[in-house]
Symmetry: C2
Subunit: 196 residues, 2 copies
DNA sequence: TATCGTTTCGGAACACGGTTCCGTTTGCTC
DNA sequence: GAGCAAACGGAACCGTGTTCCGAAACGATA
């Protein structure tokens, strides 16, 4: 949470320089390994890539979830911020919702194995699940609400359920040419529409 | 495939009695353990429950997928056979499709962890994936085709993609009270309908 | 029923990945 | 430069899947 150099200037003891350097190195290494081997790549691989010992990973990122969060934080933030922007720039709330969901799906399917781990009941990934929910659920809820208010979609859809469902649909969407998650998600979005 | 007592009387050397007994015992034990601990329960747990050594499991079921298949074969068969029956007994092909998909979903969500393993890219589960596809895909395709012919749904939906999507939606549907896979699947089915 | 060859068994051993521990090193402060 | 705390690295530990091999059980034969 606190990287040691910014902060509110309160009780942050500023980390040692090698610690900060390693943290950065680890993030880069993890990002690289995630691209080639997926987010479930062995910890040792990431450590080797970064040229550090495995314990250093655990020291900086107590759970694997923390590491994944740190690696993708920027992109998740961008996705979260895109919500309101899309709502403003789109012709209709439904269009905004659709575009936002596509953004989310594109993010998930390009990160090998991320969707699979997002819903994992493994307590080790609880933090990851929580982060995504905390950050994106309100955005999704806002879009849903706007579309429902505009009478474009059913009012009985729960944002959590939708996000969870979309996340699930993205699982394994890489490495299977016969399966296109985007099409299925599109089907769900179509199912949301009120029948006229 | 061949349990050693039936067969075409060709080259089946009839297995030893203890082997047959253990196979049955293992199936029962696995079924029991799957109910309480899910299909990803440790091999040792299943062996212990059956009162046999771990090697005995591997001897009878070379991969975990083979064991899972054997345990659920009856139910999968029943699901497959329900397809044509529903098509005949339902008012419309679309109704039959909906009911069949619900059957499939009910099956998946009541088997802890099965959906998660069904789509797994782990080669060890390839046989499981293949079995489900082999057995159920034609049934699903038939229902889709009938509904499409009747003009009730889009004609551009691929059966594989639908099954895969439905399977994905069922992942983790147990142990999360906020997530109801049935509702999401319903949304997909609704999305299939042609807009009038 | 006693013997023997073969099948099957059981558990130890191995492989592999996550996680923790501890002696050593490094950076910071004085 | 000395002292101290933070941080490090890699060995060790643990749980799980998988394989190996000596022992036991089976069933045919005499």
């Amino acid at each position: 949470m606190n990287d040691g150099d910014g902060g509110a200037g309160s009780t942050a003891p500023r980390k040692r320089s090698d610690a900060r350097r390693n943290e950065r190195t680890l993030l880069d290494a993890a990002a690289a390994v995630f691209v080639t081997s997926g987010v479930e790549a062995p910890v040792r691989d990431i450590a080797a890539r970064a040229g550090v010992g495995v314990a250093t990973i655990y020291r900086h990122f107590p759970t694997r979830a923390d590491l994944i969060i740190a690696v993708y934080r920027h992109q998740v933030e961008a996705c979260a911020e895109a919500g309101p922007a899309l709502l403003e720039s789109s012709a209709t709330p439904h269009a905004a919702l659709e575009r936002w969901v596509n953004l989310f799906v594109d993010f998930l399917v390009t990160k090998h194995g991320l969707a699979a781990v997002l819903r994992s009941d493994d307590p080790g990934f609880g933090a990851l699940h929580a982060y995504f929910i905390d950050r994106l659920l309100p955005v999704c809820a806002r879009l849903l609400e706007a579309a429902a208010t505009a009478g474009e979609i059913r009012a009985d859809v729960d944002a959590y359920e939708l996000m969870r469902g979309v996340g699930n649909l993205c699982i394994g969407a890489d490495n299977d040419p016969r399966y296109d998650a985007r099409r299925l998600v599109e089907l769900v979005i179509a199912g949301l529409r009120v029948r006229r």
